[in-house]
Point group: C2
């Protein structure tokens, strides 16, 4: 447990990303407040650059590269928001980026990554191991590998989202944060314990992949197969070696939400709050609704993690 | 031209709605800035209470009722955002509200209006005249009729949107505002001439209903049949007796946008900026894109008027 990042790292990250990441808006909805009989604050990372909180951690991590690392470049493997966050951050910092993506990654995501100037290396999801490819590239070409969540600088960057929320709205009684590999949750936990020590902090993961909940209960990291859920940002197989001990220490509990709850929330957020939120980003609201009785009369934060969803899929889910 | 409202009325309206209306966020997008080679600020009235700027004017108008008016109540005719804005404002101020709605109004809008405590009077769109019904109710029951745009207190309230925008981002070189009956545009014109006198101010209406453009050019109010356009918030037949002289005096020019341009903008705003905007709310961005060469290197404001659109229709338009 030694050498875990602390809130000081979140504060340092906030300085590094200042002027590069958006200070995202905090939205409120009288309808939600009336439904839950509570005062609810939505921290909208769907309105972050790239459409997700991932930019915070990626930019923070790359900002800490030394001259040699900057020259050699960064490598990341991801088919999702982390790839684009690394590619964009690298572009802004003048660092070459290589992104390892599966052969069946959506063309739009490959194009977006290339659009940020990233070099894309395609692998076969069924016959090749992306982590191995990433590590080989790192060794062979001297690249620095930045993983999507299990890295002190990445999670410290993600924690700036909760830091901004508390600084804008003051202390909260409850905070609900989506949980995949735990980068966002562990970073937000550091900020929560520093800025609102009495706040109940919940991680929320898809029902189909409750490895986080099981790990939290058992005290050791549980590995699962890739879960089948529409929350593609939380389809992780296990928590990280850095994220887990922070979560275990600082989080109140882990909750789960079903796909149908996520679709209900997605539709509500679009129709009533006029924002596009990807299924993973709806986990927090789904959990707040589950705890309706407890949160009554309280001040509640809901972290919306991102809004990156293909429009045809979004439209289809709205009509489902 | 005597007795037109002035910027002082906008300032007074801002005081009245303070604490009741949201100070809506101003969003920016690097993608838009790169596309237009300009610095663009989106004033997001889709994130206003009720999902549209209409709440500002309605609340301002009802706040000015005297004791007798408050007791007797308000009447409004509208199938859209104005009805809900009046019903909600009336509820908040403890004023009885009667809303005259067509027999084929969407059930959701009728339910929403009733949900705010408004009394709904249904009329037959094909055989009855809603203005006449509204006026008769007003006379018979002593109600005060608040029209959707052609009223000094209504337009002064709408102008607070532009006031907030200038106060948050400073002077602009261009401002693009959706145009239906002219309540929003004339109110914003008063704020613009007071706070950014050199700003070029454009009203933007649907191509299918360019009565505003023709009125602006000819100098007298042109009446048209209800235009066929997806921009249902701008399906007005003519500018108002109060809104037109202000528009004629203070606005730079009137532009138009086609339905297909609006769909493109709606899709862009959802997929890249993660916000739900109704077709009418896309008029400003469509016009800014048309003036791409002029706005290059400039500071540009785009007023997004609202986000009230049925989700099944929104989904269908995204897929079209």
């Amino acid at each position: 447990m030694q050498n875990l990042p602390t809130y000081d790292d979140v504060v340092a990250a906030a300085d590094r990303i200042n002027g590069h990441a958006h200070k995202t808006p905090v939205l409120t909805s009288r309808t939600v407040n009336e439904d839950l009989q509570a005062e609810v604050f939505f921290k909208c990372e769907n309105l972050q650059r790239m459409g997700a909180f991932k930019f915070r951690g990626a930019f923070n991590a790359l900002s800490r590269f030394d001259a040699e690392q900057r020259k050699a470049g960064v490598v990341a493997f991801s088919s999702g928001n982390h790839a684009q966050a690394i590619a964009l951050s690298a572009k802004l910092l003048g660092i070459p980026a290589t992104i390892v993506m599966p052969h069946d990654a959506p063309a739009a995501k490959v194009a977006a990554t290339k659009g940020y100037g990233g070099k894309v290396v395609i692998y076969d999801r069924y016959t090749q191991d992306r982590e191995q490819i990433g590590r080989e590239l790192a060794e062979k070409e001297g690249l620095t590998l930045i993983p999507p969540y299990d890295h002190p600088d990445v999670l410290a960057g993600q924690g700036t989202a909760a830091k901004e929320l508390f600084e804008e709205v003051g202390p909260l009684d409850y905070l609900f944060v989506p949980l995949g590999g735990g980068g966002l949750l562990s970073g937000c936990a550091l900020a929560t314990r520093a800025l609102a020590p009495d706040c109940k902090l919940y991680g929320v993961e898809p029902e189909a992949g409750n490895d986080g909940q099981r790990s939290f209960k058992s005290g050791s990291i549980v590995h699962i197969d890739t879960p089948k859920t529409i929350a593609d940002g939380a389809q992780t197989q296990h928590l990280g070696e850095v994220t887990f001990p922070i979560i275990r220490r600082d989080v109140t509990d882990i909750l789960t939400a079903s796909d149908s709850e996520l679709i209900d929330c997605m539709s509500f957020l679009a129709s009533r709050m006029k924002i596009v939120v990807e299924p993973t980003g709806c986990l927090g609201l789904a959990a707040a609704r589950q705890l309706k009785e407890q949160v009554q009369g309280k001040r509640v934060g809901v972290l919306i993690s991102g809004g990156n969803i293909d429009m045809s899929r979004f439209a289809a889910l709205l009509q489902s």
